[in-house]
C-alpha cells in the first residue's frame, strides 16, 4: 500500500474564501472539478506523488479554509510548509488585494526560506475578469514570486503550477545541500589524486574499472 517515494514536500494553499483553493487542489489530485461551493472546514490535505528528474516526490498539499474564523488553525500549518501557493480569484478584485495581507501572514508565520507562488484562479471566466494579468504579474514581480493564471474548471495550468513549485523546492533543496556540505564550496583540487600516477602505474590504472587518471 505504502508507495515508496524519495522526498516528501509539504505544500500549502492559502487565499481568500471562495477563490477556489479546494478546486485547484481537487483538480491537481483527482483531475476532477465540482462547481458547488462547499466551504472548507479548518484544514484538509491531499496527496499526490509526482516524478521530477527521476525522483519520486510525494506532495502533501494542505488546503486551508479561507474564512477568518479558522485562522488560528490554518496559521499553525504555515511553519511546516516548504512551498506556499497564494491563490486569488481574477473575478474578485478584493481577493487580489488581499494577496498582500496573505504575504504578510506568510512572513509572520512561515519559515523564512519558503517557496512562494501566486495563482490567479478562474481564468476561464473571461467576461467577469477584474484583475488583469499584467497587474498580477507586477505584484508577483514586486515580491519576487512566480505567477501563473490557472483554471481549476478546465484544468488550465494547474498541473504546471504545482510542478513549477515542486521543481523550485527541489532546486532549493539541492542548492542548500551543496552549501551545507561544501562549506566554502571549494571543489577538491585534482592534485590530490595525482600521487598515484606514475609511468609504472599506468598498466595498473588502465585495469581499473573506473579511473579518471586514464583520462589524463
Amino acid at each position: 500500500m505504502a508507495k515508496s517515494y524519495d522526498y516528501l514536500f509539504k505544500l500549502l494553499l492559502i487565499g481568500d474564501s471562495g477563490v477556489g483553493k479546494t478546486c485547484v487542489l481537487f483538480r491537481f489530485s483527482e483531475d476532477a472539478f465540482n462547481s458547488t461551493f462547499i466551504s472548507t472546514i479548518g484544514i484538509d490535505f491531499k496527496i499526490r506523488t509526482i516524478e521530477l528528474d527521476g525522483k519520486k516526490i510525494k506532495l502533501q498539499i494542505w488546503d486551508t479554509a479561507g474564512q477568518e474564523r479558522f485562522r488560528t488553525i490554518t496559521t499553525a500549518y504555515y511553519r511546516g510548509a516548504m512551498g506556499i501557493m497564494l491563490v486569488f480569484d481574477i473575478t474578485n478584485e478584493r481577493s487580489f488585494e488581499n494577496i498582500k495581507t496573505w504575504i504578510r501572514n506568510i512572513e509572520e508565520h512561515a519559515a523564512s526560506d519558503v517557496e512562494k507562488m501566486i495563482l490567479g484562479n478562474k481564468c476561464d471566466v473571461v467576461d467577469k475578469r477584474q484583475v488583469s494579468k499584467e497587474q498580477a504579474q507586477q505584484l508577483a514581480a514586486e515580491y519576487g514570486v512566480k505567477f501563473s493564471e490557472t483554471s481549476a474548471k478546465d484544468g488550465h495550468n494547474v498541473e504546471e503550477a504545482f510542478m513549477t513549485l515542486a521543481k523550485d523546492i527541489k532546486a532549493k533543496m539541492d542548492r542548500k545541500q551543496q552549501e551545507n556540505n561544501n562549506g566554502g564550496g571549494s571543489h577538491s583540487s585534482p592534485n590530490v589524486h595525482v600521487g598515484s600516477q606514475g609511468g609504472k602505474d599506468k598498466k595498473a590504472n588502465a585495469n581499473r574499472s573506473f579511473s579518471w587518471c586514464t583520462l589524463l
Binding site: 509539504k10 474564501s17 474564523r69 519559515a111 532546486a171 542548492r175 542548500k176 561544501n182 595498473a204 581499473r208
Partner: protein
Amino acid sequence: MTDRNRKASTNAWICPNDRQLCLRAKLNIGWSYHSDSPRGSGNELAQNEKKQIMQVLQKAENLEKMEQERIGRLVEKLDNMKNHAVGDGERSCILCGVTFSTFGTTPTPCNDCKKGVCSKCGVDTYNSRKQPLWLCKLCSEQRELLKRSGAWFYKSMPSYIMPVKNADNLGSKNIRSVVIAILDLLLCKRKYLNYDVKILLFCYILINIPQTASATSSTSKDNYGTSLTKRPTMQADGSSEDETDTSLSTDSDTDDGSSNDDSIGINDSVKPRPAWASLAHKEHSSNSEISLKKSMDDERNEESSDYSSEVSFSASKVNPKEKAENENEINLAFQEFKPSQADFRSPITENESIDSTGNEGLGSLDFSVLFEPIDFKLHVTIIKAKNLKGMGKHGVDPYVKLQLLPGSSKSNKMRTKQSKTCNPEFNETLTYLGVTKDDIARKTLRVYVMNHDRFSSDTVIGIYNLKLKDIGDVMKRFNDVPLHKISQVLEIHVNSIERGRIEISLKYVTATRTLEVGIIQCIGLKAMDASGYSDPYVKCYLRPDKYKITKQKTSVKRRTLNPKFNAVFKYKYAHSELAGKTLDIQVWDRDIGRKNDFIGGVYLGKDSSGDQLRHWFQTLKTPNAKFTHFHTLTDELRHPAE
C-alpha cells in the same frame, strides 16, 4: 462574505470591561469599541466541524507516523553503514577497509569527508552546478538522508521512529540461510576446504542449534553485512587467499576471535561513528550543521520527556491564551498535532564543545530521572550513551544497568536492552517501584554502562553515581555525564539491615462487615538463601489471636526478591471490634528441609506508629474506601504472650 455576515448578526459589538474603559478614558481614543479578535460566539466551531477537523488531523498524524518510520529506516540504514565501515580513510578504504597500494587499489578522496575511498565504495555524482563530484557511499547516503528526511528545510532532523527489530524470529532463519550460503561457498570452492576446520564446525553448530542461532543472530547479521561489503573489494585486490581469510573470519568472530586476523569485524581500534556525529566533526562545520546536531539533541530531550512526565504535558497546557473554552480543546489538539513541532525550533547557537567525551575517555551518558512521591515511583530514562570505549574482543554490545544503593544486590538491579554501537540510543525507561522519600534522601543511584560479552562475564565500561537527594520532584535531565572507572568511585557500603518493603491495601466493607487486606507485592526483599534470592510468602494475623485462627498465607513465589502476590485476605469483624486489633503481616522465606526464615514484618494497629498507624486509621475512619501504601519491613517479630 458569509463570514462577515455571521459576525455582524451575532456578536460584533461587545461591551468593553472596566479596565479597557479606564484605559480609553486615559488615552483619549474614543469610546467606540470593537472586539479586536473576532472570537465571540460566532467564531465557535460546531461539534461536527470539530469532528471533521479531528479526522483530518488523525489522517495527517497517520501520514506523519509513516513518514517518521520511513526516516527511521533511512537513519538505520546509514547507521548500519557507519557501523560496518572498517577502514581509516588513509591507508585503507574508509568503508571496506581494503589497503591502498600503488599497484592495487588507489584512494580517491571523498569530496565531503576527505577520506580516501576505493573506487567500489564511492559514488560519482554531480552537484547542483553540474560539476562532477566524487563522494564516498557514506557521505552520499548522508546527503540523501538530509534531503529525504526534510532536514534540509527544517534545519534539524525531524523526529523519527526507528524500525522495530524483529530479529528474534527472523534472525534465526536468516542466520541459517547465511551460514548455509557460506558453507556452500566454501564447499564449491575446494581450495578453501583446507582452511579452518574449526570454522566449519562452528557453522555446523550454528545450523543445528536454533537457540544458539537466535542468540547470536544479531551479531551474525552484522557480520554478514561486513562480509558482503568485503567480498568485492577483496576480489579487486586480487589475492584470493586473503579473500577466504576474511569471508570466513567474519563468522569466526563469533567463535572466539582468536582464529584469524583482527583486521575485520568491528574491533576496538575502529570507532563506529553515529549517523550524525560526522556531520558535526566536519572541517567546515558551518553554523547550521552544529545547530543541526544541537537541535537533534533537543529533540531527543523532548522525546524522552514525553515518556513519563506529566510535568511537560501540563506545561504545554498552560499557554492557550484567551481562547473560548470549547475552542481550547481543538487548539490543544493542534499543538499536539502540529506537523512535528520539534522540527521548527530555531537553531540554537552552541557554545559547548562538540566533543563530549568523558574526561577519562570512557564515554558519556544522557539520562533523566523523575521521582513521583505519590506513586512511590522512580523513573529512570536512559536516553543514550556517546563515545563509549569499546572493550570486548567481539565489538561492543553496551547496555545500561541500574542499581539503588544501599540495598540488596539482586532485588534492585535493572537493565536496558543491548545495543550494538559505541553510541547507543536506548530511550528506555526503567521504573523502580516502592521508592519512598526516605529512600530518596538516603540512596544513591548507580548507573553502570556494561558491555555484554557472550562468552565470558560482562564487563563494566564505566559507571556514574547519582545522589538521589539532589533530584526533587521534577524531572531532572543529565546530559553528557562522564563515566568513571569503577575503581575510582567510593564503594558504597551495602546496608544489610534493609529488609525490603511491602505494598498493602486495606479496605473495610460495611455491607459485608469485612476487612479486606490486599497483599499486592514486595519490593527489594532481603535475600535469605545462598543463591542470592528468597522464596517469599506472606503470612497475616489479626491479633490478639490466641488460637491462630486468623492466620492466612499467600502462595510461595520462587526465587525472587520482588514478588507480586495480589492476594486478598478477608476478616469478618464488626467495625468497633477492629479498633482494638492489630494486623500482623509477616514475610517469610520458604526453605525446604529446614526452618523457614523470617524476612520482615509490619504491624498495623493502634499501637503502631508512623505510616502504619496512619494507614490503619485512614482505613477505619473511611470505610468502603481502599487505601494502598508501601510499608518498610522491620526485623521485629512479635510473639504475643497470649
